[in-house]
Symmetry: C2
Subunit: 140 residues, 2 copies
Amino acid sequence: MHVPAENDIIELMRDHEITPTQQRLEIAQILFTKPQHLSADQVLAMVNQDSALVSKATVYNTLKLFANKGLVKEVIVDPAKVFYDSTTTPHYHFYNVDTGTLTDIEVREMPVGNLPDLPEGTEAEGIDVIIRVRSSSHTT
Amino acid sequence: MHVPAENDIIELMRDHEITPTQQRLEIAQILFTKPQHLSADQVLAMVNQDSALVSKATVYNTLKLFANKGLVKEVIVDPAKVFYDSTTTPHYHFYNVDTGTLTDIEVREMPVGNLPDLPEGTEAEGIDVIIRVRSSSHTT
DNA sequence: ACTTGGCCTAGACAGAGTCTAAGTGTTCGG
DNA sequence: CCGAACACTTAGACTCTGTCTAGGCCAAGT
Ligand SMILES: [Mn+2]
Ligand SMILES: [Mn+2]
Ligand SMILES: [Zn+2]
Ligand SMILES: [Zn+2]
């Protein structure tokens, strides 16, 4: 299962209670061709590179919808923009602050201890682990 | 050593190769009264609540300067704004996505495994661990 | 046909953060 | 002292990501 067929994507969306529309399909096709980390702006550019298919508002709305329904995961590492991760299984990230590149870390490569006691009246939603790196031989 | 005296702060700044100016002192006084996580906007409001002492540009410039010199640490958990942490010793964070509140986690409360192999040509700069929580009894 | 409801869209808008160009000290050489 | 050099500060314009608004479109149901 590499580049998923349109039918697979429609089924995936139905599984997650998302009505499949033409625009959502265009966006999903781009996201789910491979594991990747894309900003909304990148998705907007990619989806419209041949012809204008999807508006800016719909790209933002759709990515947020996908995130809420668990189809993609938001990754917040850059104060300037959100990345959307097409891989939703638990994993962590390297973030190269020089290049802006995200790289996945398998959980087994970096075990993290159990959750500490949560603050009163809260429940856990997820753990983000980000290892910030910079490109070597920096004139620091 | 609670509310640090002006002289302590000047020495701290000199130690970090920061020329102490009136505006930088105003900002430092607010930051270092206690361990806390403040956005630039909050610092701007606090520093000017009595009389207009420091401009917006200087607040942003100063916080970035302090971060570069290691006086404060940037915490990136919210796509809308950066938090500045007056505690620079290693620790992790809870982030309540409902209230926007950051809470510290001591490293000993949540041991994290050794660093995995870094991507080619990079060196580590730091590890961020964020446990996202939401306030209980949510109508999800 | 008409209504309803979900979806899409252009473009206005909001808010965090940056930049620019001018002003204000402060230091330092003569 | 005096003037040049330099670092710092500032108002306000500007940029950029993301949100909102108000109307248009379309498919389904009656
Ligand atoms: Mn799923
Ligand atoms: Mn230090
Ligand atoms: Zn990832
Ligand atoms: Zn902290």
